[in-house]
């Protein structure tokens, strides 16, 4: 950071103190450093300034002040993201919404709630559970991740197999645009701006108020834990369940290494000796759940043990192992990368075998946790940063796993987002033309390129620069995966 930009930030800090109050602007170096990364610690950058606003109006003024000075800004919620989507800029302002955590309105009759962006995901459910409702998207970090962050990343979770991602549960967003205007975008005729905004990873604006859909608590929930000798037989059971036409609320798989970690962390007491476990949850009307649960149990007959949760306490214990798995890996490895990729469900056995090979060849251990129902893999690549070269090897294996996903017609992210971490993988999945097109959308919202720059796209094209014309046939068309009309 040069002298000029530092001086610029000093002036900006003064301005922000006026806007947000002196106590809500952080410039102390040690304090700033605590914001240097989110849930992904692999990338770090100490923000130039941190500001903790209290209202949409303050955020709009902050954005205008940044724009006037040409200073980049990044929004952050609880700081639990796993792709570095909220990675700060040393020459920029980090706008933290953790103090905007009021639930503004609960409307049970219309099945919706209006919340501020800093509201914790699980707190929405807590606020409405007694009235028979909940907020369906359930990232594993739901006890701490914020709704604003969920909107930015279009977060998913175990139950998204049946209920869909955040985008399916957001009805409207109040947004501070990069022009510093406060606008409302909602489900309405015309272009689906809400669809474009949700999952835009903070590059199109900052949401300041979110109307979320509330979902009726199901009449009945059944959860089982099935332990298999091998990952392959567990994978076959998943395919069998889906092809039988059953849509469970969730089907989750964990391999032996991740079971070991969860066991060490929360003593979840999964059946010993399992090569893989499946957690299958069904919910809905009692008659339907009872019928399908019997089906599922039959389809899991390759399991050497099936446990059915007798009550909510036992259900919570089954889920506890799964939901703590990421952080629990800290018990068996000093460092790790949480990878996030998608493959067609049918490719599961082959991809897992290839991951196993990669792990064997490189000597890098890989634990596997996944939302098996929709083919969303979460390989956990383990390493010890104290060992020279280990981080680089892990990073390599992690990248190769994504190549595997692309090779099998999948995606480089299912729910964690691209952020800064996977920007470099984007060109492997998309052509230059694809990326140009996406950039044009971005430029329409953020012509100055100051709103969370450096994320999602590897080499941001300057707005106004004319993208080159596509020549030849698009690779997706060539491979038969897409058609041109």
């Amino acid at each position: 950071m040069g002298d000029v930009s530092t001086a610029g930030l000093d002036g900006l800090a003064e301005r922000l103190r006026v806007v947000a109050g002196a106590g809500n602007v952080i410039t102390d170096p040690a304090e700033l450093r605590t914001y240097e990364c989110d849930g992904l610690t692999y990338h770090r950058a100490t923000p130039g300034i941190v500001v903790l606003p209290d209202s949409a109006e303050q955020i709009a003024e902050i954005v205008r002040a940044c724009t006037a000075e040409g200073v980049p800004y990044i929004a952050r919620g609880s700081g639990t993201g796993l792709s570095g989507g909220a990675l700060p800029r040393t020459d920029g302002v980090l706008i933290v919404t953790s103090r905007m955590r009021r639930i503004l309105e609960i409307d049970i009759d219309d099945e919706r709630a209006v919340v501020e962006p800093g509201v914790i995901n699980l707190d929405v459910t807590k606020a409405v559970r007694s009235q028979g409702y909940y907020y369906a998207p359930d990232p594993s970090s739901q006890q701490i991740c914020s709704i604003g962050g969920n909107v930015a990343e279009n977060s998913g979770g175990a139950h998204c197999l049946k209920y869909g991602f955040t985008v399916n549960h957001v009805l409207a967003c109040e947004v501070v645009t990069p022009d510093g205007e406060i606008v409302e975008i909602s489900e309405a005729p015309g272009y689906d701006l809400l669809g474009a905004f949700v999952g835009s990873e903070g590059t199109l604006g900052i949401t300041t108020k979110i109307t979320v859909r509330l979902t009726r608590l199901p009449e009945k929930v059944e959860t089982l834990l099935a332990a298999f000798d091998t990952i392959e037989s567990a994978g076959e059971a998943v395919s069998a369940i889906i092809s039988a036409g059953v849509v469970p609320a969730a089907i989750e798989m964990m391999d032996a290494l991740s079971i070991e970690a969860a066991e060490a962390a929360v003593a979840c007491d999964y059946p010993p000796g399992a090569g893989a476990v499946l957690v299958v949850e069904l919910d809905g009307p009692t008659a339907e759940v009872d019928h399908q649960f019997a089906q599922v149990k039959e389809l899991c007959d390759a399991a050497f043990e099936i446990r059915v949760a007798a009550d909510d306490t036992e259900r919570a214990l089954i889920w506890r192992g799964r939901k703590s798995a990421f952080a629990a890996v800290g018990r068996i490895s000093p460092d790790y990368i949480v990878q996030d990729g998608v493959i067609p469900r049918t490719a599961l056995p082959e991809v897992l075998a290839r991951i196993d090979e990669l792990s064997g060849d490189s000597g890098v251990r890989v634990a596997n946790v996944f939302h098996a129902g929709d083919g969303n893999l979460h390989p956990l690549v383990l390493f010890d940063d104290a060992v020279p070269g280990a981080a680089e090897r892990a990073e390599m294996v992690s990248g190769q796993i994504l190549d595997l996903c692309i090779e099998h017609g999948g995606s480089i992210t299912g729910e964690h987002g691209v952020g800064v971490d996977k920007a470099k993988h984007m060109p492997r999945m998309f052509t230059e033309e694809d990326l140009d097109t996406m950039q044009m959308v971005r430029c329409a919202f953020d012509p100055a390129g100051l709103c969370n720059p450096g994320k999602v796209y590897p080499t941001p094209r300057l707005c106004g620069e004319v993208p080159g014309r596509r020549t030849g046939v698009h690779p997706l068309v060539e491979s038969g995966k897409a058609d041109l009309f």
Binding site: I26, D28, A30, E31, R33, T34, Y35, E36, C37, D38, G39, T41, L52, S78, G79, T80, V96, S98, R99, R101, G118, I120, S141, Q143, I144, C145, A264, A265, V266, S324, F326, A327, A328, V329, G330, R331, P334, Y336
Partner: protein, 420 residues
Amino acid sequence: MEDFRELLDDCVHCGFCLPTCPTYQLWGEEMDSPRGRIHLMSQHEQGEPLSGPMIEHFDRCLGCMACVTACPSGVKYDRLIEVTRAKVEDERPRGRTDRLLREAIFAFFPYPKRLRLLRGPLRAYQASKINMAPLLNRISPTLAAMERLAPPRASHVRLPERVAARGERRAVVGMLTGCVQREFFPGVNAATARVLAMEGCDVVISKDQGCCGALSLHSGRAAEARAFAKKTIETFADVDVVVVNAAGCGSAMKDYGDVLADEPEWAERAREFSVKTRDLTEYLAELGPRATRHPLEITVAYHDACHLAHAQGIRVQPRALLAGIPGLEIREIADPEICCGSAGVYNLLQPEAAGELGDRKAANVSATGADLLVAANPGCSLQIATALRRRGEEIAVAHTAEVLDASIRGIGKEQLSPRR
């Protein structure tokens, strides 16, 4: 002792600790969350000097250990903050006022005999109905907090050195009488001794015992804490079990193994002592009930003291013991994992934050509509009762031991709960 760097590296920065941290709930700032404080500790470990803001964020930590419960990676935050507080005390002399206040607090609290000297003037002040609060508030928020939180008048109870078991003897146990507990809540100690005796224990109450060192340990006064720990280990050398009724004391005594790990001649004794320490409810649950419980028609809001629930993992036993009393109904307090703000001497040193947390807890206690507030720590009871009074509400408070005592003796709830 474990390597500090390794302890720091256990944190993977997932953020699961944030929602259970009282100061993060209050201010929503990273530096006032466990994850942020660990980051600051890490900066210091890497050579960054302790700065004023850093110390402020460490000082603001209540040491409630809710984050230890919440952490999926097994970070030993309790050890981290203990070591850090000691570093703060060693490396950086505090400002004059802060230092004097701390010295004053630590000149009294760990010494029952000195505390006793305070009782007379305190009683006179409380009887006089003079209101010193506005004046004290101007001089020092800490002094004002002391005034607000001063315990109620209670007459001194002298416990014998040995209380014999009723009926067939099942065990011989030592009993820690504590400092604040002994001088300001003598009824709790008397009830504890009676319950243990009625459940078939010979209770040994050594006259020589002093402070267990909890307040010193939890405030970074490491050398003082070690001295208190050694004295306590020696006092209870002859018993196989030491029963404690104050959550903060029990948690410190269970940490002696770590506290004295670097002193070869004490390490083993300290570990053994930690293993034989039991919270009263933990011990009663292990022993199993024998004495008859008489009905108490009363609704109880049970408050999890942090040093019992988070530091010792004891949540089930006290509830089970209370539920074993016929007619007694337990009402759960919302957000039970969040500290009430008492936290040892925190409410004296950080009165503002402690007050806000007290108000939140009081609102949740009030919402239960219970007749009686039960907690295992004298500090919690005082803190919550004071906060309720600010809302214009009164609630009777009791220690778990007093409720069990009232039931076993069949004395009825009126005897149990004079309005405080």
